[in-house]
Symmetry: C2
Subunit: 334 residues, 2 copies
């Protein structure tokens, strides 16, 4: 059983999960689709994952057999487990909780060698709708304060299997950086009665230099103070606090700009490993004026000068205006 532990100085929660240490890895390091070897995410190997939680499966009602387009299964090496009631306890000076939560894998395509940018717009849209589906379902469990969607692409970005997938973790706490964003944006709102993200979007669209691309309702931009070279944020231009509460009609456009952004990164930076993380308002909370959901996409380019972990102080060799110009001028074939 894993544990949630709280740092007594800064109050950061950490998951201590010994089972995660045991998982296998099919990655050598570079992002290439070697194929070969055994893949538990490929069709025909449905019995090599825990039974599916959800699947998009056009032709049949059967479960755990081939024929699916998207498949959601529990992570075989979960950081947190669904079973059990949540209880917090003290240990001398220390605080901990048992590791109650959920950890799921979204297998994005039956094709082993395809990544997100290879998929049709319809398939990419269905992946985003699957995120929504799982967020809404997990939010029904009152123990979960936050549902975190993220993708590790490539071994250097933390993926342990190469078959294209995303992950969802539902947690009984709100992750530190999200709560910092919530606090920061509340402070801004109290001061100015405006959403800090809406303000940023308006200012950046006017100044143009950090904009990478736009659709009617979404924008891809390099943030003003990025921690990492080519860090890219995707935001809806209309204010929405919750990803999962956005009108269904917008998901196609979002899939389009997400694929376009990843294509720009691939073509500009040579198919780097990357992560993206969905920052959305806490699932149990009503629509918020102060917060604005967004994706953060981080290509893994630098070997992180590790003192950055120890200090929270980042040195970024690429100005966001330079990164944005580079990504903006690429032709992408959609």
């Amino acid at each position: 059983m894993s544990e949630l532990r709280k740092d007594p100085v800064v109050g950061r929660w950490v998951i201590i999960s010994s089972e995660r240490g045991k998982r296998p890895s099919s990655w050598a390091g570079q992002v290439n689709r070697k194929g070969g070897g055994f893949c538990p995410f490929c069709p025909g190997h449905e019995d090599k994952t825990p039974p599916e939680i959800y699947a998009k499966r056009p032709l049949t009602e059967a479960q755990n057999v081939p024929g699916w387009q998207i498949r959601v299964v529990p992570n075989k090496f979960p950081a947190l487990k669904v079973e059990g009631t949540l209880h917090a306890k003290g240990f001398g000076n220390y605080d901990m909780m048992n590791g109650v939560g959920a950890h799921e894998v979204i297998i994005e395509t039956p094709k082993h060698a395809a990544d997100l940018t290879d998929l049709s717009d319809a398939q990419a849209t269905d992946i985003l709708l699957t995120y929504r589906e799982r967020m809404v379902d997990l939010a029904r469990d009152a123990r979960f304060k936050y549902v975190l969607v993220f993708k590790n692409h490539g071994g250097a970005a933390g993926a342990s299997l190469e078959h294209s997938h995303s992950q969802i973790i539902a947690t009984p706490i709100i992750p530190k950086r999200v709560s910092e964003e919530l606090e920061g944006s509340k402070r801004f709102y109290n001061h100015k009665e405006r959403c800090v993200f809406c303000d940023m979007i308006q200012y950046d669209i006017k100044s143009k230099v950090r904009i990478i691309s736009r659709t009617e309702n979404f924008v891809a931009l390099a943030p003003f103070a990025p921690r990492f070279p080519y860090e890219t944020w995707l935001l809806p231009m209309t204010h929405f606090s919750h990803f999962e509460k956005m009108p269904e009609t917008l998901f196609g456009q979002l899939a389009n700009i997400l694929k376009d952004t990843l294509r720009r990164i691939n073509s500009s930076l040579g198919y780097p490993p990357f992560n993206f993380v969905l920052h959305s308002a806490p699932v149990q909370v009503e629509e918020m004026l102060v917060y604005h959901w967004h994706f953060e996409v981080i290509p893994k380019l630098t070997s992180i000068a590790g003192f950055e972990w120890g200090t929270g102080f980042y040195i970024n060799p690429t100005a966001p205006e330079v990164a944005a110009e580079h990504l903006r001028k690429l032709e992408t074939t959609t």
Copy 2:
């Protein structure tokens, strides 16, 4: 000229430093002492670095010639530069400062193939005294609010040259994680009138399970909620807020436990890349009851599942009690 930029949402400062993108790299990836190739840190190549700021040089008064035991030079590709007056400015909604600061390199030994654990206790002590020397000197510049000492060892940990060295960055702001520690420890002190680090040391010494080693005045331990496997903290058992204000008599013992800790990590984990960071109270501030200086040592073992950057939420597969037991039982030859 580099810039300091502030994230408008969470308030984190980032250094945007385009010159850092140009630095060369002698690392292939693994930590091994290939030798061969040209090293600007080796004796005889003093003209390949900027002129020295400080050196420990037993036999002569000359500068920038061989004969030194430790040499401090400005970083050739600095994240921040000493010249200029500090000014903050706004950019629409955004805040920035010009990149005034200092960025120095401490070349720890004339021997290209030696690392910290190969050096004599006297040499290791002199390295720590050199940290102190530079901290005290940089603190004379009132523009600098914080002086950060850290070491990147191995390419995967961010080192761009293999010759053993540490770095110092003096900044006009207090790094985020340090200010979080200051706030957290102030909160604890206001509540309990005790230092949270002193409390932790006492509790952990009693419970034993997270202690790695001890000398008369120092302790090496695995913290209760570590972000990374085998993360190790070194702390003085007596309360000191400022590393540089600790009595000189204690530096030998500190050198000893630092070398011992790195030996345990090397022997247990196969010479991994690592970082260490010195967390000390802000240099311009008087002795503090609430804060307690310490080293954080982080072996680079996992390819960081990058969503951790995006969330501040860490999953650590190795419980600190397991790591501590492993490191504790190793025989180290001192």
